[in-house]
Symmetry: C2
Subunit: 493 residues, 2 copies
């Protein structure tokens, strides 16, 4: 934004990312990922390579969420990657709409083929193929059926951090890839009420992660019957509005009732001495959250990361012009770095011989929340010049080193809050209460940005079913705050 | 051991684990895993379920190692689970002895078969099959070939924590399973010397993890040519002696020379302006470490965990006999627990209504390093009764709560050191310096416990090649401390 003014009014603003969000939002998204060095496409169709900077972000998300779910008494465990086909068949019997696009393992050995390359050895064909887990309800259900014997074993709360695979035809990095990373939680309870409350509680934990760590608001609520996870009694979601007005289903939590307990025979002996089916939930959050983070906070210069989750909270850049001063400036920076480190602040110190403007743009494109530039003048004055990534060049301030060190946590906290508020304001100002299907049709036909909120009557209107397809819209959720009386409708990722 | 004395001299000692180590070491191992609730076999052939207590141990190992490798400038990333067959073929061209037992993905969709169950849809057959990664040299090499352009990009140090799969015929939990969890590091350097030093340095980090955290000694050294990783110029290992005298290859670090760089075209432009092949290393440590931990430290009552890595360092057990005192004792325990928590000590507080002796045995079988039992008498006296898992009942001490809290870190540290020393003593006293092949043959034919150390001449003796097979022995390594002059020979896992 600041450069726009410098470039003069006639010229098109120069941005680090081409195209801009307005010009082409989906392409902007891909370019932001590339500019930040988060990930790239791999030679395996539909799978991505998560590069170190993107993975560091995922590690921070993992750490934050893992701490929260452990506080809830959830225990991490690990279950096999491969699922026996029989398990999937058993699930498919009980559950309509089960997704069948998945990677199937049929052989267990390679051998040299006719052309000298390797081929699956015919004599290694498996009697029963396996599927790479698209999700683990079935194999975890099988274990739970052994581990749950008595009411004393309940509740049982399990989680695994793992890779899963679904054979996706159209993929987009972080948002939809054939393989992705996630956590999947699977809890079992004695009573229907406990499971129901748990599904809502775990969604609440996700909301907290999004709000407090990722500075992402969202609309929490229940999925409509059509949009439920196959086999769930109730599905809950947090739908976050991206800057193009589309919804991202940022996580889900399902009350599975007794459906999976029935398929996998999860029974317990109650205090009454009788056998009862357990009630289960499942809840998941994936690397998709990173896609949402980009589309919530990014600007035309790239991603902007909330300080609490950013791999580096501060980019420390020595401005080196004259070789003679270089070592002094670097020593001055090291002093600052040590003081920041003592406060547990994550600092990226770039003392390479790359040009300062390149380093500065790299920090901007990587979305590092606060940039500290130290030139000879700063050093001589015992000063620190710093610029907020979220507010851009206009926020540049120079202050004494002591003042900076004393205030740095407050500055980072303010960035976090400002980002959160800005996203909330955007979302709030792009939800439109409409009265009837004509208004709704107009809204989406005109390609307006945002969500529509309507009375739930519309879900029963046959005309809506047709419009959904024509306009590529879906009911995103019945918001909790509207107590099931309203439905949020939108386009989505 | 303590119970042995109680049970009287005539009777067979009562132990928590049946059989004992002496009776049947492999079966003892399986029973220890079951008793500790670490893991169990899964419905997927050759794959295990890592249960919460086993996984918590793995998380602690991960955290410790991850911190160490990050200190070395290694960055975590994530690469696809599936490897294109073409990559494996390319590797196989360059490298003899490449393992071909692996899970092959050939289809991407299921459909209803004739009998109503699900089958791979014939029209979803992949043009080129994929293999589930047995290790990721190839796919990471492919990325590195793009990421490494100039000498400025080197060294590049990447690591991923992931699952891998090899189709194993004979499996044993933690030691050899078709799927297992590990980290695999892949570093690239400009010079041969740097790569060589790096392979040795990364092995040193593993040694530190084993020594300082897992209280496991071991013999670090180089693998002989026959035992090298296919394609490696040098393979390094830490061979740890289990209590049955067998060796566990506890980790490996490979200097790959330019072999993989050649296969995957990892080239950089040097300062001389010319293109050069990079030199790479790879280094891995897996859930196998947990199997080694069990077989190093376990006794006939189960596993014994070193405090630094134990999910729970202290088991806090209220001894509840009289309902009237129960709530008071529990309150007293809560006070102790809070003081331990303030010191960041991981406490398992078991206030369930299970019988005290059952709780005590559970803590023993889970290998919790220190057990604190609190009865009414302790409470009335403001005392704490504690027993070390490694020393057994004879180590039981009662002291004041203040003394205990003041000393607890020292006690845990002493357990850690004592376990380390004991394992070292065992190893040291079971390495036998033998002079010739006759002595060696006698040693292993008599099924003696331990390693044999000999001059490396034996490796060139044709008789040794025959004996290796007959006696199921292998050269484990050329120890660093013997500067390549000696070879350690043993049976192994």
């Amino acid at each position: 934004m600041a450069q726009a003014q410098q470039a003069g009014q006639q010229k098109k603003p120069r941005t680090a990312i081409t195209p801009t969000r307005d010009e082409n939002f989906p392409e902007w998204y891909q370019q932001v990922i590339k500019a930040a060095d988060f990930a790239e496409n791999s030679p395996v169709r539909g799978c991505m390579v998560i590069k170190p900077y993107g993975y560091a972000l995922w590690e921070n998300i993992q750490r934050a969420l893992d701490d929260m779910i452990k506080e809830e008494g959830v225990q991490n465990a690990y279950f096999p990657l491969l699922i026996p086909l029989e398990f999937i068949s058993r699930e498919a019997e009980h559950i309509d709409g089960f997704a069948k696009e998945c990677a199937v393992v049929t052989h267990h050995r390679l051998e040299k083929g006719a052309d000298g390359g390797l081929v699956p050895a015919p004599d290694s064909k498996l009697e029963e193929p396996f599927v790479i887990r698209p999700t683990s309800e079935t194999i975890i259900g099988d274990s739970m059926s052994k581990w749950v014997q008595s009411y004393r074993d309940l509740p049982m709360k399990l989680n695994q951090w793992c890779n899963v695979m679904r054979w996706e035809m159209r993929t987009r990095m972080f948002l939809r890839t054939s393989e992705f990373l996630w956590q999947e939680g699977h809890n079992a309870f004695a009573s229907k009420e406990e499971a129901h409350e748990d599904a809502i509680k775990m969604l609440g934990i996700y909301e907290r992660l999004y709000n407090d760590w990722l500075a992402m608001p969202g609309i929490a609520g229940e999925k409509t019957a059509d949009e439920r996870f196959p086999g769930a009694a109730h599905s809950y979601t947090n739908e976050v509005m991206m800057q193009d007005g589309k919804a991202l289903q940022a996580c889900t939590s399902h009350d599975l009732g007794q459906n999976f307990a029935k398929s996998f025979n999860i029974q317990y002996q109650g205090e009454d001495g009788q056998m009862h089916l357990a009630h289960t939930t499942s809840w998941g959050l994936s690397t998709r959250s990173i896609g949402g983070l980009i589309m919530t906070h990014g600007d035309d210069d790239g991603v902007i990361l909330p300080p609490k989750i950013a791999p580096y909270q501060i980019s420390l850049l020595p401005v080196l012009r004259d070789d003679q001063d270089s070592s002094e400036i670097i020593a001055y920076c090291e002093k600052i770095r040590a003081q920041l480190k003592a406060k547990n602040i994550r600092v990226h110190f770039d003392s390479s011989d790359e040009r300062t403007s390149n380093k500065m743009w790299a920090a901007i494109k990587k979305g590092i929340p606060l940039r500290v530039e130290i030139g000879k003048r700063d050093m001589d004055a015992g000063a620190v010049t710093h610029t907020r990534r979220d507010l851009g060049r206009e926020s540049q301030i120079s202050c004494s080193i002591n003042e900076f060190i004393g205030n740095v946590e407050k500055i980072l906290e303010d960035i976090q809050q400002t980002m959160r508020r800005k996203a909330q304001d955007f979302q709030d100002s792009h939800i439109f209460d409409l009265k009837n299907i004509t208004e709704m049709k107009e809204f989406f036909s005109a390609d307006k940005t945002g969500f529509v909120r309507m009375n739930t009557d519309i879900l029963n209107d046959p005309a809506f079913a047709l419009l959904k397809k024509d306009l590529s819209i879906t009911p995103r959720c019945l918001p909790f705050e509207d107590k099931g009386q309203k439905v949020i409708i939108g386009k989505s990722y």
